[in-house]
């Protein structure tokens, strides 16, 4: 069954907060967009509405966390990562508060609403903050597991999710280790490294490529920070070519992280697939995905073309 990650997140958060009264949710007039209405109704004493004020939301959340609470600040990711960047840097990260920043509608979820509503720089700006865990789940199963991890583990974190219902990549009860990539299939010719909504298309692209005799390893890089350097180096050594695929700018995101590792530890050719550093076409996110080739066929075609040119 296809479930949007945000729905999986709020269901799990509600379940955890019913058991643990120190869990709080802070919203920025975002209870609808995050699907926090049930939480607000059922646990009003654990729900704090801040209004459309993302800077204040992170500051307030960090203040609440200073009193021993686990605070989930939930807001659309373009605003949470952009408007409140300095509050994330200072109030949450520098102060080492137990604040979980949950960005919904990441990437081009709001594809028709323009550049203001796209969140295509969030990973690049946030992954450089020291001590901030950065997670990008790809399906409902992983989202629930990471929500539990955030609730149980001390420290500031950012989790980015899309708005759409996504294909289920993992079976129920699959486990994840933050800091460790998840290998979805093995291959010898190249490795596809993906995060978030583009994990499933990569898995399918690997199947298409296999039909043509190209065997791709697929790694789900849901843990952007801490980053699984070892998995990247092993992929470079064993498959010799890396292709990163992300619903994010081609600058400084997953592609950047992979290149930082390979350039320093085991240089191999890397192809970065993502959003161009420029105008983003308007459209519902499936249309935008189609346009940029963020589909199984689109990814397979880009890989074939690239491989033929780097031989």
């Amino acid at each position: 069954m296809n479930t949007p990650c945000r729905k999986a997140f709020t269901e799990k958060l509600l379940e955890l907060a019913q058991k643990d009264k120190t869990i709080m949710a802070v919203a920025t007039d975002s209870r609808g967009s995050v699907t926090l209405n049930d939480f607000a109704q059922l646990l009003p004493e654990q729900f704090v509405e801040v209004g459309i004020a993302e800077q204040n939301a992170v500051g307030i959340g960090s203040g609440i966390a200073s009193c021993g609470k686990t605070v989930f600040v939930c807001s659309p990711s373009p605003f949470l990562s952009g408007r409140s960047y300095e509050q994330v840097k200072i109030d949450a990260v520098y102060n080492q508060r137990n604040v979980k920043l949950v960005g919904v509608s990441g990437g081009v979820s709001y594809g028709t609403l323009g550049f203001s509503h796209h969140s295509l720089q969030d990973i690049s700006v946030l992954r450089t903050l020291p001590g901030l865990t950065v997670l990008v789940p790809c399906d409902a199963v992983q989202t629930k597991a990471l929500t539990c991890y955030m609730a149980e583990t001390e420290g500031p974190m950012y989790m980015r999710m899309g708005r759409n219902a996504v294909e289920q990549v993992y079976s129920e009860n699959e486990t994840f280790t933050v800091g460790k990539a998840k290998q979805l299939c093995d291959g010898t010719d190249l490795t596809l490294l993906a995060m978030g909504e583009l994990v499933w298309p990569c898995k399918e692209a690997a199947r298409l490529l296999a039909r043509e005799g190209i065997y791709a390893r697929v790694l789900d890089m849901f843990s952007i920070k801490p980053f699984d350097t070892e998995a990247v180096v092993n992929a470079a050594k064993e498959t010799r070519r890396l292709v990163t695929v992300e619903e994010h700018s081609i600058l400084g995101g997953l592609g950047g992280a992979v290149c930082e590792v390979t350039a320093q530890h085991y240089p191999v050719p890397v192809k970065v697939i993502g959003a161009p550093d420029g105008h983003i076409v308007a459209g519902e996110s499936p249309e935008v995905f189609q346009y940029y080739g963020w589909t199984p066929q689109g990814i397979a075609d880009k890989v074939k073309d690239w491989i033929s040119r780097i031989h």
Binding site: Q55, G59, I60, S62, G63, I64, C67, E86, Y94, Q96
Partner: protein, 274 residues
């Protein structure tokens, strides 16, 4: 502490702050001197804390939102026993933990600040959590007047009023100066009291360099429930050192040996007539 003892303590803290700025050859001395009387009242009369157990959950909290005015704050924390006084000599020296802004690695510091416009949100969140936990803790924070141009301050003011945070005691060091000149010439702040009232605060406008006035104003505010509190501290930037008073150039600066000696003499003269 009695009023006279508090005045003497404030004078002692001023001397220590001047010494730190002189030794380090750097520091935000003007706003430090304007705010020391208020900090002295908080730490030596009003706040409940345990310097040997800085994380005591039922402590009152103070957040220095105008984080650059840290010299008096560190001097007070050391004097209250949060860390050894000798460490004050490392202020702004290589590899010190006493950097030019509050940092939680220093015992007693509640929030890392530096960039302006952050402290009030942190104080509001802390105040809300303390109310949710049914504690009687009071949350104090001090903002600069120049700082009020930061939009995040007004988001937090709105929040405090909306949630009726009557355990929140915000104060503004209204010394009418900021780094480039007079606040009203840089960005109009007045009518400040009416603005705070409009956001739902109970307010007091007082001489912020007068210990008795500060004590009396806090006393009046403590009797008000259902509203966050705001003290508009009418202060003099550089207070206590004649050549620094009202002088914008002493927002930040270093002292020559002659200036240092003159400043210390000045403070000693004022203290002798207390």
């Amino acid at each position: 502490m009695e009023v006279e003892a508090l005045k003497k303590k404030a004078a002692e803290i001023r001397r220590q702050a001047i010494k730190m700025v002189y030794q380090a050859q750097t520091g935000h001395i003007g706003g430090t001197l304007s705010s020391i009387d208020y900090l002295t009242v908080l730490y030596y009369e009003k706040m409940h804390f345990d310097a040997k157990n800085p994380q005591w959950p039922l402590r009152d909290r103070f957040i220095l939102s105008k984080g650059h005015c840290v010299e008096g704050y560190f001097s007070i924390l050391a004097d209250c026993g949060f860390f050894p006084k000798e460490e004050l000599d490392t202020f702004c020296q290589f590899n010190t933990r006493l950097i030019g802004h509050p940092d939680r690695c220093v015992p007693g510091v509640e929030m890392n600040t530096g960039s302006l416009g952050h402290g009030l949100s942190g104080a509001c969140g802390t105040a809300l959590a303390c109310k949710l936990d049914d504690t009687n803790c009071r949350i104090y924070t001090l903002l600069g007047d120049g700082e009020l141009a930061e939009g995040s301050v007004w988001e937090a003011l709105m929040f405090a009023g909306n949630y009726h945070l009557d355990n929140l005691y915000a104060a503004i060091d209204r010394n009418h100066l900021q780094i480039s000149g007079k606040t009203e010439e840089i960005m109009t702040l007045e009518p400040l009291q009416q603005k705070c009232e409009a956001f739902g605060f109970a307010t007091e406008v007082i001489d912020g360099n007068d210990i008795s006035s500060i004590l009396a104003a806090l006393e009046r505010l403590e009797h008000i429930s259902g509203k966050p509190k705001m003290l508009l501290l009418d202060t003099v930037k550089g207070k206590g050192v004649s050549f620094m008073e009202h002088a914008v150039k002493w927002h930040h600066g270093s002292l020559t040996k002659e200036q240092y000696e003159q400043a210390m003499m000045n403070l000693a003269e004022k203290e002798s007539v207390l």
